[in-house]
Amino acid sequence: MHNSRRLNIFLNSIVENIPDMVFLKDAAELRFVLFNKAGERLLGYSRKAMLGKNDYDFFPKKQADFFTEKDRQVLAGKKIIDIPEEPIQTKKGTRILHTKKVPILDEKGRPLYLLGISEDITEYKKASTEIENLRKTEHGLRESKTSLETAIAENKKDLSAAMRDLEAARRLADIGTLSASIAHELRNPLGVIKTAIYNISQKAKGRYSKEFKSHIDNIEKKIYESDYIISNLLNYSRVMSPCFEKVLISDVIKECEQDFRLKYSKFNVKLKVDIACLKGVRIKADRVQMISLLSNLLNNAYQSMPEKGGKVELTARRLDARKSIKITVRDNGIGMSKEEFLNALEPFFSNKARGIGLGLTVCRQIAMLHKGSLDIADNSLKGTAIVITLPA
């Protein structure tokens, strides 16, 4: 007896000193029959107040229902139930518990008690939420850092691109000024050569051989080409602000056509113009620039012919419910790849012996000033087709 009393005290003191809440409920009515110190501290009730009562005396009904249901489940199933997280209302506010409920059975296996062990994990939960938040913040910061770095890199890229553009613009402006004055200066001697050639052929009229004529033709052809280069240099260096008026586009094309026929009358070039659909169409354009654009394209077409001859076609279509027009200039010359075309748009780039690659640059500039576009048509046919679209 003495011993069993000592054992009882010993066991009680173990239960009493376990730092988690330990409680025992009777299986029949689920009333508290045992409650330790940690339990008192956690719930804020003295064990005197607790013993003999059930959950409905301390907790809101909803919570008490939950506890009771779990308790019944444990007793009926005769198995331990682990509730990893449950909130509980205490006198000190809501706490979060990790509870294990254990059925205690009699020798016949009938449920006698329900043992509960609850660990207060509120602080732990708080800490882990904080850790989680910190982690999120850290992740966010890292992302911000990355995007900031990307933005800085992009800015740097933009800046250096802008500086490159500026430098290029400055260089082009200088080149423009220089080339304009060179172009002017060249026109004088070219004028003399042209007139001299005229005089030579007039004087030798009817007396010169086929060979002689071919020399004269070559010189004249080169004069045309030089003149073409000079015009482009001047066009390019000039500040191009279009002077818009309503222009009958078919007239402009006809003018260019006539000019082209006259210019190349001595050469074997066939020009086919099909612009029936443009009859009466007026577009907002700078007449002089339009002529420059189309003449340039026609000249380019001619330039692309390896021999002194070939075919050029100028066709027109109306697009976008008549809101724009598309003009295509196609030749059967040496052709041009998309890459060559893009290169040709770089001012002062040229891989040709002829020309210094300003023609297309000027053309595109004009098309863009007119809110239109200039592109090379994708096709595998021989030759090149340049397509311009202009708002109508």
Partner: protein, 122 residues
């Protein structure tokens, strides 16, 4: 034979264009000094003047202005030749100076001859 006075400070151009006019039945007179040009016009009293617009000593526009301002010369038609301007750019200035037409170098002599013929005949 119609007398055509050509004013240009490029001597070779003068020589060649004079030759081209001669070949087409005109009588060319040449002047390479723009400062002396107006006196030369007064003396020669040509039927038409071919005038370079950009000359070193004195601009062709100034010469044209003198021609227009003088009662004796104001009716002489002037055709401008230029390596610098286009007719489009200086339309107004040309109108003020009473310039009938403008050709850009390198010009086609046939065009000049046709223009002269159109204005004052053969």
């Amino acid at each position: 034979m119609k007398k055509i006075l050509i004013v240009d400070d490029d001597r070779e151009f003068l020589e060649e264009i004079a030759q081209a006019l001669r070949l087409n039945g005109y009588e060319p007179i040449t002047e390479s000094d723009s400062v002396l040009a107006f006196d030369r016009i007064l003396k020669a009293m040509p039927d038409l003047i071919l005038l370079d617009l950009k000359m070193d000593k004195k601009s062709g526009f100034k010469v044209a202005d003198e021609i227009k301002a003088n009662a004796k010369t104001k009716k002489i038609p002037v055709i401008a030749i230029t390596g610098v301007f286009t007719s489009q750019e200086h339309k107004l200035l040309m109108k003020i100076c009473n310039i009938r037409e403008c050709f850009t170098k390198p010009l086609n002599p046939v065009d000049i001859v046709n223009a002269i013929e159109g204005i004052c005949g053969k």
